[in-house]
Symmetry: C2
């Protein structure tokens, strides 16, 4: 089986890399901090000292990094991928980053005859561990077909949306919908509670009708339980919502409710509550 290069062994990246090892792929790993590299090496991976080394040693490379600047650094920085990329390499970025950054990576890597996919995921740590991530993919049909066996190791709901950047746009849309729906159920359930009405019954009644959503079901239950342990941390969702606002700006599209939700998330983060699950938006309305 083809050797896979894997850069970014965080909460999401480490279990995905481990699933590739379990599926039988040789994996060459790199990460800024060394500890997580050592853990993967124990599980059978080979360590590389830089993104450049990963690029020199493998022709299928996956990155799973926190934010756009991290991807830019790994791709274009000193000892970055660009310095070592071989023609014919398949590059898959599974980070959630700005569509504009995904397009820049695609442009500059294409000049090296490297085909690129932007393939952000949703489904969180549990999805990463269990191999049940949703994967939203942008890039050429040819590159997508090449990557499909790898995606099938990692996820279940794998959708090829369109050309380069389309995966990141879809992820931004996803985070807009999720953020605003959390805001919706926060305002509604706070109204019920402050009005002295049984919040559990309101949630049940709404789930049976047009207001039904997966978020009302799962995060509605979290709100009932007062359980805001992550899950998906507020500060990461704030980052993703910022990406959506930036992408909107570039299309001269105002997204007023997205902007409002970003402000509400920032209020909590500024108050030191950045480690709450994103469903913790609710606490702003039940103080």
């Amino acid at each position: 089986m083809e050797t896979i290069g894997f850069i970014g062994l965080g909460i999401m990246g480490a279990p995905v890399a481990r699933n590739l090892l379990k599926a039988g792929y040789p994996v060459v790993v790199h990460n800024r901090s060394r500890d997580s590299v050592d853990d993967l090496v124990k599980d059978g991976a080979t360590a590389a000292n830089s993104p450049r080394e990963v690029a020199e040693q493998t022709k299928a490379i996956i990155t799973m990094l926190p934010d756009s600047p991290d991807v830019e650094q790994v791709a274009f920085g000193d000892d970055g991928l660009l310095e070592g990329l071989q023609a014919g390499t398949l590059f898959i970025d599974m980070s959630t980053i700005a569509p504009a950054t995904a397009l820049e990576v695609d442009k500059r890597f294409s000049e090296k005859r490297v085909s690129c996919l932007d393939a952000p995921v949703s489904g969180g740590e549990v999805g990463a561990i269990e191999g049940t991530l949703s994967i939203m993919v942008g890039g050429s049909e040819e590159a997508f077909e090449k990557a499909e066996p790898l995606f099938e190791v990692m996820g279940k709901n794998i959708v090829h949306i369109g050309e380069a950047g389309a995966g990141q746009v879809t992820k931004a849309c996803n985070q807009v919908v999720v953020g605003l729906t959390i805001q919706a159920i926060s305002e509604a359930l706070a109204l019920a509670k402050k009005s002295g009405v049984d919040v559990a019954k309101v949630r049940s009644a709404l789930l049976g009708g047009f207001a039904q959503s997966r978020i009302l079901d799962l995060h509605g239950q979290r709100i009932l339980d007062g359980n805001f342990k992550p899950g998906f941390r507020m500060n990461l969702h704030r980052k993703d919502v910022g990406i959506a606002l930036e992408a909107g700006d570039q299309q001269n599209l105002e997204l007023p409710a997205t902007k409002l939700v970003a402000q509400q998330m920032s209020r909590l983060i500024d108050a030191g509550k950045d480690g709450l699950d994103h469903s913790g938006l609710y606490v702003l309305y039940d103080e």
Copy 2:
């Protein structure tokens, strides 16, 4: 079977009254405009000339009216219900009105030994015709049990939430969630479209993951089709969102996203687009 009084034969009220007739109940009807009364009389109903007459002739009375002032007028106005109510009557208001108005009706009618339920519905004209409405009920357990056979003629998802006013609070919560979720998918799908990404594929991908909602499914399809024929009209949803904001104010609860959505709906209404389906919020972002 007991004779039912029915006041308010609009788009929702007329088919509900007709379903009661079909189920075998004698129905005494009243409506401000006479045409809809005549239609129901053709179907077997008896006409009354005022709410007072309805109250004098029946001991189970249903109202289904546009807004709080209409309910106040029918209940407390000249020739209103209060002038004719008999002790032991069951009064069911199925209008969507302010929880505070529901509480006032309950208080003043209770003094006449009339038991009250606030029982707003969702499910629209189709639900009213097909007898598949969702019904959110506030009031005593005893009154709810008495009303249950009537509700079963009208709806499917019938939930007794709590004491007087609880039905209206739940409906306000429902309209908050529905309005904000429409705003969410409007911003997200507009972002996808303006970014040049296939909106149908984005909708599909999001439906498969955490962003899933009935509204993304049904109204997402409306947005794809550019079909904003009502359905549920913008100006009615604007009214309901106003009720939620008022109910929030009374609990000193700020609902910032609900307020934003109210403003967006008002923009469309002020532009003469009050007859659009509420999913038509989307057009603000795709102009």
